[in-house]
Amino acid sequence: MNIAYNFAFFDEGSKREIRRKTLKAIAIPGYQVPFASREMPIGRGWGTGGLQLTLSLIGREDVLKVIDQGSDESVNAVNIKKLVCDTTGVEITDHTSNATIIQSRHRIPEVPLRNNQILVLQVPIPEPLRFYEPSEYETKKLHGEKEYSGAWLMLFEQIMKYGSMTTGADHPVMVHDRYVMAPSPIPRFDNPKMNESEALILLGAGREKKVYAVPPYTKVVSLDFDDYPFQRETFAGKCCRLCGASDVFLDELIDEESKETVYQCNDTSYCLEKLNEDAALEVRV
């Protein structure tokens, strides 16, 4: 492979700077560490934060998986994979369990992660209090003083307006009993997967120039009220039309011809693996 770029696109100094900030982020769970977000060959807001983390971490031995809202084959995921592959030559996989680094946009895979894997999440707005307080100067003070009434107030407003907490994604979490953190726009369904996770979770916001982290085996609690407890989205009584899985995050689709509502796994590689397993079983039988 003839590459004009350094290994993993960045020069070694840049990678070291990002790794140093990542270490700081891991040392202070949930704290947003400012970093010098680099210019990238993709636009800011298209996953540059996650990509910079991935590029700073990746080594020749690594196996990479990139997903975009559960899909391994969406444009964004494919392009990021191509870029990393062209500048490093590492192996790419769709199988969650084979990967050592998983970069994801807005989902945590259905297959439980292990302690030798790193999950990198792309973050558009890292500040959980942004809607409540527009000024960065003020939100830094609020974090410093552990003053999070704003985060609960936003949930209270939802309950007042709609009768329940309506965060579709990015439901704020308390990390290690100290910092309130935006878990990136993952569905509420995935929030509990962050709690005591075996894998290291890194979150990067390229446009907002912040990295933060949830180290392995860290307590992550979704914010709620005593009389309005946190709840995941439920898909009770529904299952994937392809593989039949039920305890997973399902996409609601409308069949173009019959106009019926159907459900399908959001995590495409999980669905495929399950189908293959079933097929293998059938063959053996």
């Binding site: 409540y132 003070k141 107030l153 407003e157 007042m160």
Partner: protein, 281 residues
Amino acid sequence: MNGLEEPVLSVRNLNKQFGPGCPYCQQTQSTKMIKNYCQVCGTVYACKDVSFEVYPGEVLGIVGESGSGKSTLMQCLYFDQDVTRGEAYISTYQNGERNLFQESAQAKRYIRNHMMGKVYQNPMLGLRMNFSSIGNIAEKLIAAGNRQVGMMEERGTELLNKVNIPVHRRKEAPKNFSGGMQQRVQIAKALSNHPPLLLLDEVTTGLDLSVQASVLDLIKSLQRELGISIVLVSHDLGVIRMLADRTLVMLEGKVIEQGLTDQILEDPQAKYTQQLVHSLL
């Protein structure tokens, strides 16, 4: 009042200056000063050695012309601004033994959320205009550690009732409300966690006369009912006459006269106070 009564709030030698100060303006009898402004270094002395006490259930009025340091004093008391020098003690915090101005930012926030309520002249400062009215009240309750939606909704509704905001508008944002209604939401918010001390900064300025009267009526009845202490800043002597038991007169950052409100209005001693009282229409 018996001699043993403990003040709710006592303030000693509160000083607030904007600017570094210089050898010219730090002398006691400086010739370089225009009122409380130093011509040499541009420092403004907003509050100079202000000391006073507020007793339980008392309404203390503070009057003075604009620029006399009234609002700065209030902002210092609510920790919106840091003081330059001075001490303040509140009886419900650490038995009134700790100087509030030297506490950490967290402790100041705690005091603000648990022991004080403030109503600003400008509702934009005291309310979150885009959040619902009931959410605004809940904000203070959440800050004080409450995590029960049902209880907060009940308390918010009760308070909004008390300040005559119709129940069906409780989920509306204050930006849709008239000035008088916004002011009443602010009062409800300030009262949400039963503070022993309420700070009112020019609450009726800019409201029309009938709304002024209803807001004043409300404050008076709430004060009677709940027995809270109030520090009330106004340049309107009518408001002071109606509400305040005791009054301080401020001029150029200093307290020039203090006493019972009737005494001050009927028999003013200082030249400025005489002028002020006589200019009352």
